[in-house]
């Protein structure tokens, strides 16, 4: 395996997944299917401080505190204070459950620069249905307070077949609240979402209507709110690059210290995952087989290897290639040129069939310890 030890890549973005614990039960969660039995193996405060220092040394500037639900960590404020002093731009990615006005004020003083709050539905009922918690009014109240405090607010609305029609209602709410950014993030089919794919994947007609609704809203509203619509890649002709290119821009550290090029990489069997308890972040970023194994194009098989577009999408997502074909070196099946592209067509057809089958409603599998145990056995 080539060692690109002198590579010029800078991990601009550090995603700190502080914990996998979460009060929500979203059936499209991107966290691993296995829920840790306890939190006792999570990195300590001291270990996170070391990770953050090492990331800064590598040139990381953006820091996302994420999870699970990062508010579960009691040392969050301490980590924000330290990260801000180190020169990070601190983003908090939260469901707002566990957030209070006092905490928002504390985080602001600590140096948080941007808070993103996720919504699971555009009204009380659907938000409760898909998130597994009755939290709609609380989320709105917290969003308002974030704005009152002068902290940039982003809202993240996770979309799927059962709430895509709510886009206009959601955008209206976001505008009324005064959000600066809205991410309309269609579910991508990893982890829990892959298990629930038949029940969540929208049709192309639904997606087109959702995107049209987004554009209508943009046309009718001249405000400053930036709206980003992220389509599910199953309807694309070419695959998406892994996190701007595997091991080029993003570095993710999991609650127990594994270092990954993206949030999902642990789904790939047969790879060795380096851990911050065994090596420095610099050593891992520059020399670990995990990072160098899929950097660039040297690892590609056909049809990617001789494809004139290989530098554009870098063969697509390695996790998706592995999950759908069993081969992490394969072309991402989303690509029309993939010999396995029929798998995507089949998934779309299965979802359509699920939607049509009125007599057989398959319940969503929610992310909780009991379902995680069922999946493990």
């Amino acid at each position: 395996m080539p060692d690109t030890g002198t590579n010029h890549y800078i991990p601009m973005w550090l995603l700190a997944e502080l914990t996998y614990a979460c009060p929500l039960q979203c059936p499209y969660c991107s966290n691993p299917l296995q829920l840790p039995a306890s939190r006792k193996h999570e990195l300590s405060t001291e270990e996170w401080l070391r990770v953050m220092r090492e990331a800064r040394k590598l040139g990381a500037v953006q820091l996302g505190f994420s999870g699970g639900e990062p508010l579960v960590r009691r040392d969050l404020e301490e980590l924000i204070v330290a990260a801000d002093k180190m020169g990070f731009y601190c983003n908090l990615i939260t469901s707002a459950i566990g957030l209070t006005t006092d905490k928002i004020s504390l985080f602001k003083a600590a140096g948080i620069k941007h808070i993103q709050i996720s919504f699971q539905g555009s009204n009380k009922e659907t938000n409760a249905l898909f998130g597994g918690t009755d939290s709609f009014q609380h989320k709105q109240a917290m969003a308002r307070y974030v704005i009152d405090q002068g902290i940039p607010l982003g809202l993240n609305f996770v979309l799927h077949r059962r709430n895509l029609h709510q886009i206009t209602e959601f955008l209206q709410m976001a505008e009324d609240l005064g959000a600066e950014f809205v991410e309309l993030a269609n579910t991508q089919y990893y982890a829990w979402a892959l298990h629930n794919r038949d029940q969540l994947l929208p049709s192309s007609a639904q997606l087109e209507e959702a995107e049209a609704a987004t554009n209508r809203f943009r046309d009718q509203h001249q405000g400053n709110m930036k709206v980003l619509f992220v389509a599910p890649d199953y309807y694309e002709k070419r695959p998406k690059k892994c996190s701007n290119g595997w091991g080029t821009t993003f570095i993710t550290v999991t609650p127990e210290g594994d270092v990954l090029p993206c949030q999902s990489a642990k789904v790939i069997d047969g790879l060795e995952f380096p851990n911050v308890r065994d090596a420095s972040l610099q050593d891992i970023w520059r020399h670990a087989d995990l990072f160098n194994g899929f950097r660039g194009t040297h690892w590609m098989q056909e049809p990617c290897a001789s494809c004139p577009e290989k530098e554009i999408d870098l063969g697509g997502c390695r996790c998706q290639a592995f999950m759908l074909t069993g081969n992490a070196y394969a072309t991402d099946p989303v690509c029309e040129l993939s010999p396995e592209h029929h798998l995507i067509k089949k998934a779309i057809a299965a979802a359509k069939q699920d939607e049509m089958a009125e007599d057989r409603i398959v319940p969503l599998l929610f992310r909780n310890p009991s379902n995680a145990k069922k999946l493990a056995s």
Binding site: I10, M12, L58, G59, V61, Q62, G64, G87, Y89, N91, K113, H114, G150, I151, P152, G154, E180, F181, N224
Partner: protein, 93 residues
């Protein structure tokens, strides 16, 4: 929208302007993103870290770069763009 020439403005307090060794340049950091800054951009934005206005920024730069003929127009163009991207924001009284 504030008047760039005369109203008081400053660098967006929610953004960070800093030099990055790894990138060997100044960057401006904002929610979930960053932009690498040219030396000209740095010269202008470092004058906006405390409340100022367009006239003062230009006057200050003219003292440092007395031979730059198109300086006032270039700086105004930059500040208009910076305003539209919320890099600079009005200072409330």
């Amino acid at each position: 929208m504030f008047d760039i020439s005369s109203d008081q403005f400053q660098l967006n307090p929610n953004y960070r302007l800093q030099y990055e060794d790894a990138q060997e340049c100044h960057v401006l950091l904002y929610p979930e993103g960053l932009v690498k800054l040219s030396e000209t951009a740095v010269a202008i934005l470092t004058r906006c870290t405390s409340p100022t206005n367009g006239i003062d920024v230009i006057a200050g730069l003219q003292r440092t770069y007395p031979d730059a003929e198109s300086l006032p127009a270039d700086v105004m163009e930059f500040l208009i763009d910076a305003q539209s991207q919320s890099w600079i924001v009005a200072v409330e009284d």
